[in-house]
Symmetry: C2
Subunit: 161 residues, 2 copies
DNA sequence: ATAAAGAGTACCGAACTGGTCCCCTTTTCC
DNA sequence: GGAAAAGGGGACCAGTTCGGTACTCTTTAT
């Protein structure tokens, strides 16, 4: 099904939340704790924390440790795209194989005409994902949508076809 | 990592093999048994058989039962694209969610602006895959490449980035 | 000094995936 | 007509991955 992992899904939701937070209170400075973010997005706190750490290591978020610490976007929402988020959480965006960890390279790589097709495919996918900024994602999503009190968190993705 | 399942990978390899077979002996009529195909592509016979059945049900292959039966492409190689193959084996091509089997629909679907973004993304991915025909894939791949005698089957995909 | 918060890491259970097996039906060929 | 070849359709198993949790350590504000 070529599906996005839940980690990446959650990551995008949280980043989107932070983008909205920032916009609501002009520019940076005010951070949100993992707790707050988890509550606002209805993502299990421990999970949220784990993912936020990863996003931080990928330099998509800035963190502040200690009491009253928290997270905030490392850059402007318009300068962060979903491809980056997915890559930070799920690894390289590619309809994989070949790069089997370790040995790696395809012995007839140079000869393989299929290779260019796969590169084309992978490239197209990456481009599509790189074309959506966090700002686009954040645009006018009703807050009620992010936290669907009581029941399961509402999914924001929609299958096509 | 957004990876292709092995099923789909195998499927593409076998379809590519059949495309080459057909081209080698002008037009249809001559079928290959699951056994032959498995041997030629170095895919475990039982696996190959399972996948061929699926491809047949998806009407990408035509089958002939009974002794001297086998499989052949249902259409011309130029008229089959990788998107179809992947969809037949892995289900709808989409960076998923929402369609959780059963209940399914996103309660605020109509309001969700993110939805159009995901559709855009999914569409781009599908387009990229639909743009590669089996004929493209089959083009001049040396047969030695399909069966890498002795060792593991060589992977035809190549990661990008 | 204490409490709040992030950093890091180990761990568990459930689901999915790759892979195998078995039995049934169809068809050919002797 | 019967045996063998081949596909059709499942059930089933095992290993890996993934979602999720827990625990300990470091940092920092009050």
């Amino acid at each position: 099904m070529i599906r996005l992992s839940k980690i990446a899904d959650y990551g995008i939701v949280m980043m989107t939340h932070l983008a909205r937070e920032r916009r609501a209170s002009g520019e940076d400075g005010n951070q949100s704790s993992a707790h707050e973010i988890a509550a606002a997005t209805a993502i299990p706190p421990a999970m949220a924390s784990k993912i936020l750490k990863l996003l931080c290591k990928a330099e998509l978020l800035r963190s502040q440790r200690g009491a009253r610490g928290g997270y905030e976007l490392a850059r402007d929402a318009g300068a962060i795209d979903v491809a980056e988020i997915i890559q930070a959480l799920d690894g390289p965006i590619a309809i994989t194989a070949c790069v089997e960890d370790g040995d790696g390279d395809c012995c007839i790589e140079a000869l393989c005409p299929a290779r260019t097709n796969w590169q084309k495919i992978n490239g197209a996918i990456r481009d599509a994902l790189a074309d959506i900024s966090l700002e686009d994602m954040a645009q006018s999503i009703p807050e009620a949508f992010m936290l669907d009190a009581g029941q399961e968190r509402t999914r924001i993705e929609k299958v096509v076809e």
